[in-house]
């Protein structure tokens, strides 16, 4: 329990970011919903169209809506220029504001439609202009209902804002995603408690305002508004107090190795005098795009991933040739700088428990074509969509009875519990040795190389001092060291933090900083 308290207290800046993101999204939602509601009250067609649109938005899963704003903003750069951010606060704000639209709009339109027609006729009859009627009669009468809509929107938005972690916006989702990744339930629980607590507090405060409006008690309304304003101000203070604008932002995809390597890089840079921030839990495609557009500064990526996903190549050259082509492609297409290989490879491979493989007589992927037809294959959420999997499947003619998606950490549990027979594993994962798994041979070379390489955003790559600070990392980390580091955060007992794992990794690789 002490762990949870300590973790909760460490979430101050995430909470502040969460408060600011949510309140900005709700404010934007209100700013959009109220004029629409006024327009809708004057026209049945507009009412139907706006409510239809808001309901449609609501049917899009929040995670997808957040992700969709990345390509939308990217295409809008044609209009607004290259400075338009495509990751982080802006897309999260827009997606969440759209999400907040429905409850506010629906309550406002419904309340307006249910206003006593006699009162409206009287407002016209005593000679009120359009705006007088809106201000003196309609607004005060529908305000409590709109406030109820804002309450609903606030609770939804605060919950959905945890998902903005995936598009690079810090939030209370950070500990949840990091904790899910490493089965660190303390982190997950702390993130959930903080975001649920925030939602409850927001609901209570907005409820106070609603009650104040309904019973026409100005003091209650003003008190509620004041408390909300104080909360937002406090969040602003935490966010912007002593923040340095030119921080180096290090991205990490959503698995342990990436979190550790990001810390390893961050610790070196901090020693070199840089201010450092992290964007954790990015999706694979989002992460690469983020570094090539400068939304983040540094990312560890894998040659095979870039080769098949970003370059859309299906051939499989030797590793030096592949790296050379990648370096050329990155500098040609975006100016992204490839610092070099870290030294280890984190390939995709098909893994089985050693005993099960032996008893079924399976040693290579080819054996699965005949013996795997009754088996269940598990993979991370991206795995079955990736070209590497399609290449392997077609090369060996694989067919399984079922396939299931798991969060990376849970794949290994699934293998142990028998919910999957084969998984698409990562070769640098510490659990391969720990769980006594065997990586099936790939004699046809269907999986490409996955050398871990350090990518620097175009502008960041021009910083000679930064490149020098990171240079010792190149070639310094072998797969055994990486496996040990991964296992130290993934195992159930004696888990260490990402920071601690990064420090131990640096020590083992002989590159610790003084």
């Amino acid at each position: 329990m002490n762990g949870i308290w300590a973790t909760l207290l460490g979430l101050g800046d995430k909470l502040a970011a969460h408060v600011l993101l949510s309140s900005a999204a709700i404010a934007l939602g209100i700013a959009l919903a109220l004029p629409l509601a006024i327009w809708a009250s004057r026209s049945e067609t507009v009412a139907r169209a706006t409510l239809g649109f808001a309901s449609l938005v609501q049917t899009i899963p929040a995670l997808a809506l957040l992700a969709l704003f990345f390509p939308i903003l990217l295409s809008l750069r044609a209009v607004f220029g290259e400075g338009l951010p495509t990751l982080g606060f802006l897309p999260a704000l827009l997606a969440l504001a759209l999400y907040a639209l429905l409850p506010i709009l629906r309550n406002a339109v419904t309340a307006q439609a249910n206003l006593d027609p006699g009162v409206i006729e009287a407002a016209d009859g005593v000679g009120m202009s359009f705006w007088q009627r809106l201000r003196l009669v309609e607004a005060p009468l529908v305000a409590p209902y709109i406030m109820a809509g804002i309450r609903t929107a606030a609770v939804w938005t605060i919950g959905a804002a945890t998902l903005s972690t995936t598009i690079g916006q810090p939030s209370l989702g950070d500990p949840i995603f990091a904790g899910l990744q490493t089965q660190n339930w303390v982190l997950v629980l702390a993130g959930c408690i903080a975001s649920a607590g925030l939602a409850l507090v927001a609901d209570a405060l907005l409820g106070t305002i609603e009650r104040g409006l309904k019973t026409r008690r100005r003091l209650l309304t003003a008190g509620g508004l004041g408390a909300v304003a104080l909360g937002i101000l406090a969040a602003l203070a935490v966010q912007f107090a002593g923040r340095s604008e030119d921080r180096i932002v290090i991205g990490a995809k959503g698995f342990s190795e990436q979190y550790i390597l990001a810390r390893l890089i961050g610790q070196r840079l901090e020693t070199a005098g840089y201010a450092v921030g992290y964007r954790d839990g990015l999706g694979s495609a989002v992460a690469h795009r983020a570094v090539s557009t400068g939304a983040i500064d540094i990312l560890v990526d894998y040659t095979g991933t870039i080769w098949t996903n970003q370059m859309e190549r299906s051939d499989n050259p030797p590793r030096d040739a592949m790296l050379a082509e990648i370096i050329d492609w990155e500098s040609r297409t975006s100016g992204t700088h490839v610092l070099g290989r870290l030294g280890f490879e984190n390939a995709y491979g098909l893994a089985m428990p050693r005993a099960a493989a032996a008893s079924a007589g399976i040693s290579g992927i080819g054996d699965l074509a005949t013996k795997g037809q009754g088996m269940t294959i598990g993979g991370d959420p991206e795995f079955f969509e990736r070209p590497e999997w399609i290449a392997v499947r077609d090369t060996y003619g694989l067919r399984f009875a079922a396939r299931r998606n798991f969060a990376p950490t849970f794949m290994y549990n699934a293998l142990q519990s028998g919910e999957a027979d084969v998984i698409g594993a990562y070769t640098s994962d510490g659990r391969i040795a720990a769980d006594d798994l065997v990586i099936l041979d790939d004699p046809q070379g269907a999986f490409p190389n996955y050398d871990a390489i350090v990518l620097l955003a175009p502008e960041t790559g021009k910083d000679e001092r930064l490149r020098e600070a990171l240079r010792p990392l190149v070639g310094a980390i072998d797969v055994a060291a990486m496996r040990e580091a991964n296992l130290s955060v993934d195992r159930e007992e004696e888990k260490v933090s990402f920071e601690e794992a990064a420090r131990r990794l640096a020590q083992r690789a002989g590159i610790e900083t003084p």
Binding site: D116, P117, G118, V119, E121, A122, A123, D124, G125, V126, G127, M128, S129, Q132, L136, V137, P140, L141, R216
Partner: protein, 255 residues
């Protein structure tokens, strides 16, 4: 009728259609200053529609309405409505405003503050205790609410008072009392009043001119006395026969 004086209200070939149905089918008439006119007819006869064309709560399909000689279509809407007192069938008090705020709303719209003494005076005009000023509408009885409605209509000191079934929802005792009160105010304040009602007895007792409407047309335009004498034609007499029959039966019972 004094033709030298400007008619406060005149309709010229006024028409209103809802789709294919004519609600008002070409009405021309003038209303003299100081008249208390009752517009009587069954539901759907067009009487409310005709009344609402005066302050343009309904826009006519054809013809003109003249208010003090000016075409209402050419007058600024809000200003026109503030010059005409209007009492609604549904009362239409603003539920979030106190009695005093409701009464003072008309002057407030043009930036005037009605003094407390004037609000008290208006409340007394409609037989309400001035101490009621701070109450909210939901604390009042139906009759008290409509009295506030009448006070609100009079707050801007209009010359023309329009009433759309003003006493329809009230109990008979309140209805009678408020009717007589309004009739007295009409005389005291020198108003011209047009009242829509489906109750011929109310019209006979309060008005000095009765217009009977049917199918969007005026089918009778008589004084109460003439109507009781059998004038006005079949439809008007059918309406008059109801209270007359009731009066006869009551007289018989009392004998």
């Amino acid at each position: 009728m004094n033709h030298a004086q400007q008619a406060p209200l005149e309709f010229r070939d006024l028409r209103k259609r809802y789709g294919a149905t004519p609600a008002v089918a070409g009405i021309s008439l003038a209303i003299a200053p100081g008249a208390f006119v009752a517009l009587v007819g069954a539901s759907g006869s067009g009487k409310s529609t005709l009344l609402k064309t005066v302050n343009r709560l309904v826009e006519p399909s054809g013809g003109t309405v003249l208010f003090e000689g000016a075409d209402v279509a050419g007058l600024p809407l809000a200003a026109l409505r503030r010059r005409i007192g209007y009492v609604f069938q549904s009362v239409g008090l603003f539920p979030h405003m106190s009695v005093a705020e409701n009464i003072a709303i008309g002057p407030r719209l043009v930036g005037e503050r009605l003094p407390v003494s004037r609000i008290a005076e208006l409340l007394e005009l409609v037989d309400l205790d001035p101490a009621m000023a701070p109450r909210m509408p939901d604390e009042l009885s139906g009759g008290q609410r409509q009295r506030v409605g009448v006070a609100r209509a009079l707050a801007s000191e209009p010359q023309l008072l329009l009433m759309d079934e003003p006493f329809g929802a009230l109990d008979p005792v309140t209805r009678d009392a408020l009717g007589q009160r309004v009739r007295k105010l009409h005389a005291e304040l020198g108003l011209t009043t047009v009242m829509v009602t489906h109750d011929m007895a109310e019209a006979l007792l309060l008005a000095d001119r009765i217009l009977v409407m049917d199918g969007g047309r005026i089918v009778a335009d008589e004084t109460p006395h003439a109507l009781l004498d059998g004038a006005g034609g079949e439809i008007a007499q059918a309406l008059v026969s109801v209270p007359r029959g009731q009066a006869d039966r009551l007289a018989e019972l009392a004998r």
